[in-house]
Symmetry: C2
Subunit: 204 residues, 2 copies
């Protein structure tokens, strides 16, 4: 089973890296499909699931509640986490794939995936967010910076629920690429070749 996980800072183009890399390798690509599947299994709305995961479940766990004291909302967050873990494993079992985000590097540890982390400097992330936003949805640079920091803080928090490692710390990944100033399309042949070398090594 050849699995690549792509973790990324918000706005760094990690999703594009994942999608293009999957296409180049002929691998399945999973991202939002996971949310859709969680929604099916938990009967919760996709948007609610997204928000819960984006907040790093912070809201639900921030009051030092014990298991016994969990409210209905907390229980939803746990259901989401449990469903997500199960679904990611099911998808991995289906065959070669690229999975973006969702702490899949932690969840799929036993499958020995190639774990990639994509990042960029703040200006470049703001520019990327801006470029892909619809005209009427554009924010100010300051607002983008704030939003990017908030989302990544949530990701880091969520990560620390599942791992003793630190989100974005190089120790957690096999390769980290800085997309600042890069054209992602042009990076793909090299990343594909790296992935092939990686799988070759681990198949030996």
């Amino acid at each position: 089973m050849k699995i690549i996980t792509v973790s990324r800072e918000f706005g760094s183009g990690g999703r594009e890296v994942g999608k293009r890399l999957a296409d180049a390798l002929g691998f399945k690509y999973y991202d939002k499909e996971i949310i859709t599947e969680i929604a099916k299994q938990t009967n919760l709305h996709e948007e609610y699931i997204n928000k819960t995961l984006e907040n790093g479940l912070g809201f639900h766990f921030s009051f030092g509640t014990t298991l016994a004291g969990f409210s209905a909302v907390d229980q939803n967050a746990i259901d989401i986490m449990v469903a997500q873990r199960k679904i990611i494993k099911e998808l991995a079992e289906k065959g070669d794939c690229v999975i973006v985000g969702r702490t899949s590097n932690v969840i799929l540890k036993d499958y020995h995936p190639l774990n990639v982390f994509v990042y960029a400097d703040m200006d470049s992330k703001v520019a990327r967010c801006k470029a892909r936003a619809k005209e009427e949805e554009k924010l100010t640079d300051k607002q983008y910076r704030k939003a990017i920091k908030k989302i990544d803080k949530g990701r880091a928090k969520y990560y620390s629920l599942l791992s003793s490692g630190k989100w974005g710390d190089k120790k957690e990944y096999d390769m980290l690429v800085n997309t600042t100033g890069m054209v992602i399309k042009d990076m793909i042949p090299a990343l594909k070749e790296y992935a092939e070398a990686w799988f070759k090594t681990y198949e030996k």
Copy 2:
């Protein structure tokens, strides 16, 4: 001018990455040549220079001395730093090259080099050190771990003298590769391709 800097954790195989990458690209490769050149320009012994740089100049700067209070030893450390900076720039001016270590990513910032960081987990670094040591020079695992930590601490310290960034922090580099379990030779075609994509982007 196409310049690649390779920074690395001790024992991660960064030097091999740098050498092989230079060969694959047809670039010059600089590593110990820099020490030899510093020795020439400062009239200091190569071994002394190496030790001074490896210790992150820690010994010389650890007493909170002011410029006026520098001893002869301190002055040597400064001479070494100044000479190193000058030599690295001179080498870069000569044409396409790979430079390993020596905070060259900081020193050559204006040349917009591709900055690579090579790392690995501790077991893998110990194994690599062991494999390359002569039979009579082999240490225990514990001794290797201690030596590796000490050398990298020196590198981090030296880095912080020249940069406000942190040695090994992904923000300081364009690509980080974890050599744990990898055969370095097999990684080179992908790294070469990545470098070519990088230079293509920045030449536009």
